[in-house]
Structures are given as structure tokens and as C-alpha cells.
Amino acid sequence: MTSILPSTLVGGMFGTMLLTVVLRCASELGFTRMDLAFLLGTTVTANRRRAKAVGYIFHFILGMGFAFAYAACFVVFGRSTWWLGAALGGVHGVFVSAVLVNVLLPAVHPRMGTPETAANEIALIEPPGFLMLNYGRSTFLLNLAAHIAYGAIVGAIVRI
């Protein structure tokens, strides 16, 4: 149990790095227009450059936080393996696409439109839509794959 804290920190760090790289590459290669750093950062600032920097920090913090949630699951299940982590990542990926970004983020994001919003005087960020498909037809699958990879990394590194 003494190694769970540092291993979770390391697992969360590498998992988040991989997830970020996968999604960034997918975006640059034309598979999706999802930009998590932009989406997260614009919750606190309208400045594009600052938003992306803040967004990456938010994303990193969230990645570390979820690693601890994964570690808690590993403790409950009594084991920590890459495939268990990947399975958790799959659930996590579906949750992010179907609920977290699709429903919760528009509800709290001060600059994001919802399906009910009409064009008005305030700049709106394009809402993600169901499974974030507004950002590209491959977005859900890419996001799922990236989260499975994240979970596998966390599961492989965390020691309970």
C-alpha cells in the first residue's frame, strides 16, 4: 500500500500524457475537431492562447484525479492490471463522451451553446452533441480508444 500514492501519480501522469498526445494527433490528422484543452480553458477565459494553456493544466489535473479514482477501484477489486485499467478506461471513455462533455460541460460552460440555444449576442462554442459527434464522426471511437489506452497505462503502473 505504501507504493500506491507514487505509482498512481506516475500512472496518472503517463496516462494523461498518452491520452493528450493521441487526441492531439487525431485532431491534427483530421479525424476530429475535439480540442479538450480549448473546451476546458474557455470555461475561465476568452483569450484563446491563455485558454489552451489553462485547458492543458485542467486536463492534466483531471487526468491525475481520475487516476486516483482508478486506484480506488483497483483496491476494491484487489488487483491492478493493464486489462482491468483498460476496461475502466472504456467505461470512463463512454461516460466522458455520453455525459461529461456532452451534457455536463455545456451545462456549466459559460461560453458553450446547447441544442436549445439560438444565435444571440454572445459568442458560443459549438456544442459537442451526442457522443461528441458534432466534432467529427470518428470522435467517439478515438476518445474511447484514448481512454482505454489511458486506463491500460494507469492499470499497468499502479501498485496496490
Binding site: R33, F38, R48, A118, N120, A123, L124, I125
Partner: protein
């Protein structure tokens, strides 16, 4: 006005934001727009394929006439459409971000009723990836959106009708009464979610953009003749500079033909080292120190990977892979092929070494001394020039049947070594090889004076030992190769005039260059003639020619690469940086000559 859907090239005006640019036709159609950057694939390319290219139309829905101008000292375009029922003013600009959350790129089109009631219509047909992308038509928050892979555009509109998708186009009809306003904003995103702007923000950005351009222009300094043309040229050059890197495209378009229906159609959305010395000179003379510094450092960074060898052209991000390939577009008035990329990047063109060293010299003279790393890089280039100047090359005009021993290339090699010597004597370039550079420069001069001079013509020649001339020889006095007032330069100016001049225009050369098809007169050559005449002391001739040339600009002061000397129609990519650079140089040359005469 249009022939088979194609407007004359001179009917276009350019708007931009330092990242991308759009061509707006006199009838209100935006027929060229690349997103998100100047060198990205097109979203609107009706200028290259009226049926499949894509466009953004906005005009009266009734017969109309139009006049237009840039809002004074800005790159904000105002077109006044007049119909039987009234008139409206359409203001077009690619807006510049102002701190509020703005779309990645935003094209604002504001409509203001001036008199009566005018029925209007707008129609956006986005065709991503040069018309080859698969476009999805969707809606977000009541706004029509088109997406394709990483790209998306949204057409937000206020008081401009109820937009509806019809096939691959979205648009609406609406009426504008005097004193009423409508607004349409095209917002674009690449690899990120769209930002759908509010009308107040778009209007504010439109005004802020006009204020930015006005402020930028007011900081330029030029009190000589043709100041309107010089400042307009400066504004054009600013639009052609890609703000993210400081590099400048030769023109924002590809494949506008050098002859209607001909095959000489090239992609100019790259940065040519050849333009560097003119560009740095113009920027420094106009007081654009930030742009000059950015451009110079971009040149030194872009060339760092290939030193001491230089490529002819570079991508705006400094890359060198610009493989040429044809697109399946119809071409401007059936001028095939439409090309992207540029095969000239593989050529050996020795004049670029002189251009870069001249650029460094001008930068050092006009702004700030070079640092030691830059000095060391330039010394390596000078050493390399000593090794290659005896070899033939493809020359300034990028002929495809070479290589030849072009006189202009030899002279520019001399310029490279001459400037290296000057910089070494000032301690800005290592002087270990100073003696070698000096002796090789003398050898080049001896070669040019012996092999590239024709006593029969009384002129320098196009190629060593040939009996013809080339408009590039007009650059010799511009780069201080010879005594500008001497008989050799004077004879060369006369010979170029006899052989290549047609009215006010000058052909590049009259020789086979390995590319089929004809071409017009290159307008930069006409302005080089003005510069050469002014430097040779023929101020009256230079002034008269300059007056007539400036009057040949289109209605908003822009020039294409070439002109058909018979009809005066523009040809080639538009607007072209080198032509506007040559105009600025010619104006400064005339101003300097006039000042010198008045002092005497």
C-alpha cells in the same frame, strides 16, 4: 462582366487578416478563400472552377451596378451596389481578434442600406480541400454549419433573411431599407470546435479591424510622390505576410494563368528568397521594423537546415517539401492545369544567394547589426558561392530547359560576395575568407564584363555569349553592380527597351524557356525599368512611365503579376508581392533622384 462564370482578374480586391486572405469580386462574390491559412487548401475556389470551386456570394437580387474602394488607409473593402430601387453599402473584412472569444478565422460582411429599398441575396457554397472534400451540411444553435474532416465553417446572419440549405449551398434573401443594417459572418475552425459569434462582437471586431489598419498605415513613413500607391502597396504586402511566422507569400493565389487558356499556371503561396531583399528594403524604408525583423529571422531560421545551400522557396512554416501536382479543377477560364506545390523548389538558382546576402546587408544597414551566429551562417554561404558561381543555373525566371550561364545569376553571386566583404569589414561576418571573397568577386566581375557583354548590342546579355537581353538586367543598377549613369547600364536599359518593351510594359525575355504557351508582360519588369531610369539619371522618363504605370492598377490599387499589353487585362497570380515591391522601389528611386536633383 463574367465570362462563363469567371470575373476578370482585375475585378478582384483582397482582404485578409495576416493569416489568410480572400478575393472579393466586384459583384460581391468571394471566389477565393483558403482556411485556416494562406497556404491551406481552399474553401472557396470559384476563381479556379466556377462550378465546383465554391464561393460566398452577396449582392442585390436585382440588376445592379457597383463601385468600391478600401476604407481609407485600411484593408476593409466597401462596395456600393446601386439598383433601380436604391443602394446599399457592403463592408467586407477578415477581422482581427480583439480580446473577446473570437472564431479562429472570421469573415464579416456588413450590409447598410443607403437609399430606397434593395432586395439582397447571399449564398455560401463551401467546398473544402479545393472542392474535393466531402462536405456535411448541418446546424448548430440555429446556425448553418458545414464540416469536412478537421475543418468547419458556420454562416451566422442577423437581419439577413432566414438561411436554408439547398443542396450544397446555404443562403437567404432579404430586403434592406435605407438606414437599416444586416450582417453575415463566416466563422471557421480547424481542428477545434467552432466559435459562433454574436452580432455585437462581429460589429465591434469589424470596427476594431478598420482601426487597426488605419493605425498601422499612419505609422508608415513616406512623403514622396505616388504616396497613395505606395501605401496601398504596403497594405497589400502586410496582407501577404503570414503573421505566425513572418514569412511572405509571393501571391495569395495559385494557377491564375499567364495566358488565358494556357498552361503557365503556378502556385505562388510560398515564400521566395528572391523577394527577400526587395521586401526587407521596402519594409525598412516604410518604417515596418517589426515586420522586417520577423522576416529576416524567418529567412535565417528557414534556411538553417540546408545551409550553406539555399532552396529557392520555402513553405510558410519553413518547410521545403512543396511537390508540384495538378488538381482536377477546371481552371480559370479553362486554363489547365491547376497546380498546387511548385516544382521550382528543386532547381538551382544562384541569384538567391545574392538576394539573401543583400537582405542581410540591408537589415544591418537599416535596422540593427547581425549577431555572431547569423554572421557565421552568412560566411558559409559566401564560401559556397565561391564554389558554385561558375556553374550554370535555372535563373531568376526558373526556366525549365536550363541550366544556363545567366548574367543576372552571375551578378547576384557577385552581390553575395560583395555584401559578405562589406559585412566582414564591419565585423559582422567572420573575415577569415575575406581575401578569397574579394578575389572571387573580382573574378565574377571580370567574367560578366567579358562574357556577358555584347559590343554589338551595346548591352549586357541574357546569357553569357548570347545576343539577346533579359528584363532581369534592369536589376543591375538596383543592386549597385555598375555605375548606374555609365554607358554600360545606359546601353542595357536602351537595349531592353528596344527588344522587350511594348508600350509601357516589358516582356521578361523572348527565348524558349522549356514551358509551352505564351505569357503577358511582367509588371515588375516595368517598375524595374522605372527604377533603372531613375538611377541612371533619366528622371523625366522615369516619372512619366511611373505615372502611366500607377494608373494601370485596378480600381482598388492592386496589380497582378502580368498584364496583356494589347488589352490591359491582368494575368497571372493576384495580387503579386514582387510587383508591389517593385512599385515601392521605383517610387523611392524617383523620389531619391528628384531630391538629389533639387539639391544640385
Amino acid at each position: 462582366m463574367r465570362v462563363n462564370g469567371y470575373a476578370p482578374i482585375e475585378d478582384y480586391a483582397l482582404i485578409g487578416d495576416g493569416r489568410t486572405a480572400a478575393l472579393v469580386a466586384r459583384d460581391g462574390a468571394i471566389d477565393w478563400l483558403c482556411l485556416p491559412n494562406l497556404d491551406s487548401p481552399s474553401t472557396c475556389a470559384a476563381i479556379l472552377d466556377a462550378d465546383r470551386g465554391g464561393s460566398f456570394e452577396l449582392c442585390p437580387d436585382a440588376p445592379f451596378t457597383s463601385v468600391r474602394q478600401y476604407r481609407r488607409n485600411t484593408n476593409v473593402l466597401e462596395t456600393i451596389f446601386t439598383t433601380d430601387g436604391g443602394s446599399v453599402r457592403v463592408t467586407d473584412a477578415l477581422t482581427i481578434p480583439n480580446g473577446e472569444l473570437a472564431p479562429m478565422r472570421e469573415l464579416a460582411r456588413s450590409v447598410e442600406g443607403l437609399s430606397g429599398r434593395v432586395p439582397m441575396r447571399w449564398r455560401l457554397t463551401p467546398r473544402f480541400h479545393y472542392g474535393l472534400g466531402r462536405v456535411r451540411q448541418e446546424w448548430r444553435c440555429g446556425v448553418p454549419v458545414a464540416t469536412c474532416d478537421s475543418e468547419a465553417v458556420a454562416a451566422s446572419s442577423w437581419n439577413a433573411g432566414a438561411p436554408a440549405w439547398s443542396g450544397e449551398s446555404v443562403g437567404a434573401r432579404f430586403d434592406v431599407d435605407a438606414g437599416r443594417h444586416a450582417l453575415i459572418a463566416l466563422s471557421a475552425a480547424y481542428a477545434e470546435p467552432l466559435v459562433l459569434p454574436g452580432s455585437r462582437d462581429v460589429r465591434q471586431r469589424l470596427e476594431d479591424t478598420a482601426a487597426f489598419w488605419d493605425r498601422w498605415t499612419s505609422e508608415r513613413r513616406y512623403d514622396g510622390p505616388w504616396s497613395d500607391a505606395v501605401l496601398r502597396s504596403a497594405l497589400v504586402l502586410k496582407l501577404l505576410i503570414y503573421a505566425a511566422s513572418g514569412a511572405s507569400v509571393a501571391a495569395p493565389t495559385t494557377s491564375l494563368p499567364e495566358a488565358i487558356g494556357g498552361p503557365r499556371n503556378w502556385d505562388y503561396r510560398f515564400c521566395w528568397i528572391r523577394d527577400s531583399n526587395f521586401l526587407i528594403d521596402a519594409l525598412l524604408q516604410l518604417g515596418c521594423y517589426d515586420e522586417a525583423r520577423s522576416l529576416f529571422w524567418w529567412f535565417m531560421q528557414a534556411t538553417a537546415l540546408t545551409l550553406p545551400q539555399l532552396h529557392v522557396l520555402y513553405k510558410l512554416d519553413g518547410g521545403i517539401g512543396v511537390t508540384e501536382r495538378p488538381l482536377s479543377l477546371a481552371g480559370y477560364r479553362a486554363s489547365q492545369p491547376v497546380r498546387i506545390g511548385n516544382g521550382a523548389f528543386e532547381q538551382a538558382q544562384h541569384d538567391v544567394y545574392g538576394c539573401l546576402l543583400e537582405t542581410a546587408w540591408l537589415f544591418s544597414e537599416g535596422h540593427q547589426p547581425l549577431d555572431s551566429d547569423t554572421g557565421a551562417a552568412l560566411a558559409r554561404i559566401a564560401d559556397y558561392v565561391c564554389r558554385i558561381w561558375r556553374l550554370p543555373d535555372s535563373g531568376i525566371w526558373e526556366v525549365r530547359n536550363g541550366p544556363f550561364h545567366f548574367t543576372h545569376s552571375k551578378v547576384m553571386c557577385w552581390v553575395a560576395l560583395d555584401r559578405a566583404v562589406r559585412l566582414a569589414r564591419r565585423g559582422e561576418v567572420p573575415d577569415r575568407h575575406l581575401d578569397r571573397w574579394t578575389s572571387e568577386a573580382a573574378a565574377i566581375r571580370e567574367y560578366v564584363d567579358r562574357e556577358c557583354w555584347s559590343p554589338e548590342l551595346g548591352s549586357y546579355t541574357r546569357v553569357a555569349g548570347s545576343g539577346d537581353v533579359d528584363a532581369s538586367l534592369l536589376m543591375l543598377p538596383i543592386v549597385d553592380y555598375d555605375d548606374a549613369a555609365g554607358h554600360r547600364i545606359g546601353g542595357t536599359i536602351d537595349a531592353v527597351g528596344r527588344s522587350l518593351r511594348r508600350g509601357d510594359f516589358v516582356y521578361r525575355y523572348r527565348a524558349d524557356d522549356g514551358v509551352p504557351g505564351g505569357e503577358g508582360c511582367f509588371l515588375n519588369c516595368s517598375f524595374w525599368l522605372v527604377s533603372a531610369l531613375a538611377r541612371a539619371g533619366r528622371l523625366d522618363d522615369a516619372t512619366e512611365l511611373m505615372e502611366r504605370l500607377v494608373a494601370r492598377a485596378n480600381d482598388v490599387g492592386l496589380f497582378a503579376e502580368e498584364v496583356d499589353p494589347a488589352s490591359g487585362a491582368f494575368l497571372g497570380n493576384f495580387p503579386q508581392a514582387l510587383v508591389h515591391l517593385a512599385l515601392i522601389d521605383a517610387a523611392f528611386a524617383c523620389h531619391a533622384a528628384r531630391t538629389q536633383v533639387s539639391r544640385q
